[in-house]
Symmetry: C2
Subunit: 367 residues, 2 copies
């Protein structure tokens, strides 16, 4: 049974650098702990992975923010560590501690044993994509996602979150051959994973290079960017319905390497709040091979009062400037988002103020 | 009694963008836990602040790395939080936890009560500066330092280290008036603190803006850079001996704002490892008002083997390129350093390999 036709294609149009009547907006981690209804569903599920692996729960929480706010896109509810978990590293979430792998990989034997996982082990993700797409009923597009090869490698080598990336960088600097082998397996795994999400119904896909920004200049290009490019080169260009699927790459802390990212075979670059959107637009947003830009308000703005949130939204929109407005051609476009995931402490009514401000102000900006 | 004349002025010459026969090198946090002799002295002192507040111990640990390595500068052993401690916030170091303030400032009353502290409360720092300068006996120059107004504010508002800077950014976005008042007090305090270090014998001073990089574009310029500039405008230009005192500003994660920093009234800009030194040189290192550049190897390189360390040193030196070599004029110069503080887990003999590689390779680069 085909999926319902799309009623709001503003986000997809902006991905393709086509004119829209407002700036589309969605929020990284928009289905999350700041919403009491999410907390309630998670309590029913018993745990984070209980939530992510249950199709009905994953569908329910993905749609929760759309019930509250007129967001222009939905994003699959899942975790970035599902792929290494399927490789057999043993993912768990200790209460209050973040993710942990029982079997981190740090030596030749454990890295040599890694392989692209059987995608059947990730069936729960693809089932969730199809279920969410049906539940959306064409309301807005659904974004699928994965961690980048480098970001997955950080967790796989460290075994958990890290403040100094000592283990993964020790491997990188002392055994670059092993690091390349690990990243190649990750890239091919991520590509298969995103392709299966596309087959299941994802209408756009996003690669989260959350830890690319911890790398040194030179190392970033060799150990992160090259493997993101390897993922992109393997991605399907069309979904099961024959529609083209835009690809978004977000490197947290990657603002210094925007010119390098211009060469990526993707449509959209995500930016964090340290980047000036106007400068980014002139570096990578103009010209026939320009990228759409996504971002980049500081999530901490949401702790201020609505009037102040509106003023900060105005700064971000004005920093990008007037988006492309000619419906016959393509040109610079902006997708509004946070520069990183939303905080669990965010007051939900402040999110409403932000979304309303983006829609109202971006219409006025075009007038 | 005047201090002994300086035997090795390579570091100071490079600060002033004068030609040198090798690239000077020192390491952020070079007196620290990776050295067994430091651990032994700290054990005698009983605690970190016991070490920092005792003139003899502070002198002893400052000189320890110079006994092992032919470093081109010494840096005062102290903590960046001495100034807010002197303001009465109650600094303590819990074992394994990092610094904590008993009385963080988050509201109008507590911020309104802040004032530039009596410099007599920081006498132990100035005594240490004079003692270290005497103990150095002219071997290499002594660098004094302070946290930047914004970086101090992060700790003062959060009350401890933070992963999301939620409290300090909530204050910034919701009560920018209070944030400006706090930063003004911090800037005037830091200026008085650095001036007293200069009077006591510091031959260069460095402002550590360790958390400037967490700010959004726009907020960085308004809440960090402007107050670093306020510090610089108040600094003494000469030490007690009549010699000019160069000023270094290091913003971790500030690579995107180098062009803004060019306008700072300082001689040297510190860079972290995400910055390409060649690009930084062309942005801010050339021309009569150019800055000397300091940095920027990833401290994690020190976990690789000596041959690999040497190869990474070569990349950093070559990225900067050939330094200015004409003894009659000034021009682009490079001071080798890490892009952040050295890790406590660093093997001491790897530091020896790094320092030797910088000296040997940078001589060859000039030949």
């Amino acid at each position: 049974m085909p999926f319902a036709p799309l009623k709001n294609d503003t986000f997809l149009r902006a991905c393709w650098r086509q004119a829209t009547d407002h700036t589309p907006v969605w929020l990284m981690r928009q289905a999350g702990r700041y919403l009491p209804e999410y907390v309630a569903t998670r309590a029913k599920a018993g745990s984070f992975m209980g939530l992510a692996t249950n199709t009905d729960y994953a569908t329910e929480v993905t749609l929760q923010p759309l019930e509250r706010y007129p967001l222009d896109a939905a994003i699959l509810f899942s975790d970035i560590l599902t792929v290494p978990d399927a490789m057999g590293l043993g993912l768990s979430f200790e209460a209050g501690e973040g993710p942990r792998f029982a079997r981190p990989v740090r030596d030749e034997a454990s890295i040599g044993a890694l392989a692209v996982p059987d995608m059947d082990k990730l069936r729960y993700v693809f089932d969730a994509v199809a279920s969410i797409r049906r539940a959306l009923d064409g309301r807005v597009p659904l974004i699928g996602f994965s961690g980048s090869p480098w970001t997955l490698a950080c967790y796989m080598v460290e075994g958990a979150g890290s403040s100094d990336y000592r283990q993964v960088k020790t491997l990188l600097y002392s055994r670059p051959d092993l690091m390349h082998r690990l990243l190649a397996v990750n890239a091919d795994s991520v590509a298969a994973y995103l392709n299966a999400q596309i087959d299941a119904g994802a209408q756009a896909v996003m690669v989260f290079d959350s830890w690319g920004g911890v790398l040194a200049d030179g190392a970033f290009q060799e150990f992160s960017l090259a493997y993101t490019a390897r993922v992109l080169s393997q991605l399907k260009r069309e979904g099961a319905d024959g529609r083209p699927v835009p690809r978004i790459v977000f490197t947290k802390g990657g603002g210094l390497w925007l010119q390098d990212m211009r060469a990526l075979d993707c449509e959209v670059l995500g930016l964090d709040w340290t980047v000036n959107l106007g400068k980014a637009r002139s570096l990578v947003g103009e010209g026939p091979d320009g990228k759409a830009l996504q971002g980049n308000i500081d999530p901490n703005v949401l702790f201020a009062q609505p009037a102040q949130i509106e003023a900060e939204v105005a700064k971000v929109l004005q920093s990008f400037g007037r988006p492309h407005a000619d419906h016959a051609t393509s040109g610079p476009t902006h997708i509004f988002n946070l520069g990183h995931g939303i905080s669990q402490f965010t007051p939900p009514d402040h999110v409403a103020a932000l979304v309303a401000a983006v829609h109202a102000q971006s219409r006025a900006l075009r007038a």
